[in-house]
């Protein structure tokens, strides 16, 4: 087993374990912390795929940003300190069957295909290439994204404004 494979298996265990914990724990706050771990694990997977830039963005925005706002939402929607927040699940059996079925069929589809086993050599600085591609080939998508972000920002402000 190479170092890569070891790292992959460790990350896979962490990722799947924490993902399961996210959907199964009763304590909502703990679920969010597990999500943070899952997101950090994903950043590790990105590192394995030589995408350092994506990994950093993942940490910065997802793990730093989303986790914080989720926590915020929990605190705002529950009483500040009081009883433990617990959340229950329903239709667990049905959900498990459907999700498991989808998983099995996807895996079946993945197994049937022939994929390249080796990674092609990436030339040059990947971060720089990503940046240049964003600014040239996908500049339109990039600008649309900026508009979307603006709209989301204004929408969030609109929702969160105090009642008049």
């Amino acid at each position: 087993m190479t170092a890569d494979a070891v790292a992959f298996w460790c990350l896979a265990v962490v990722l799947v374990g924490s993902a399961l914990a996210v959907v199964l724990t009763k304590n909502l706050f703990h679920a969010v912390l597990w999500l943070a771990l899952a997101l950090t694990g994903t950043a590790g997977v990105f590192l394995l795929l030589d995408a350092e830039f994506i990994a950093a963005v993942q940490l910065l925005l997802y793990a730093g940003g989303i986790v914080t706002i989720v926590v915020f939402a929990i605190v705002v929607t529950e009483r500040l300190v009081g009883e433990r927040i617990s959340q229950t699940s329903r239709r667990i059996a049905g959900g498990a069957v459907v999700a498991g079925g989808v998983l099995a069929l996807i895996l079946n589809a993945v197994r049937g295909q022939v994929f390249p086993a080796a990674r092609p050599e990436m030339v040059g600085d990947l971060t720089r290439t990503v940046g240049e591609t964003v600014m040239t080939r996908f500049v339109l998508a990039f600008e649309l994204l900026a508009v979307l972000m603006l709209a989301a920002l204004m929408g969030a402000i609109y929702f969160a404004r105090p009642d008049d």
């Binding site: 896979a12 959907v23 994506i54 929990i74 699940s89 329903r90 239709r91 994929f115 989301a152 969030a156």
Partner: protein, 99 residues
Amino acid sequence: MGLQAYLTLAAIVFCIGLFGVMTRRNTIGILLGIELMLNSVNINLVAFGRYSGDVTGMVFTVFTICITVAEAAVGLAIVILLFRVRRTVTADHLDLLRG
């Protein structure tokens, strides 16, 4: 590790997220499931990009992450607003659209 391993991992995480979205009672819990699903899609994008030697996958991962952040911000704003109006974040109670 081949591409297959990454795809399998992403599929597992995706289905776990799907399970969470279907079963959680708390709206915030549903959002957590959605985050997991989106995250697994990102793994797919980056893995495909890396194994085909094309940066498009990574570029779109950056885009997805940004969109997800926007989605989370708006989604949580809605949750907070819902809580303010209805005093609950249990998804079952939010059924104004019932036919």
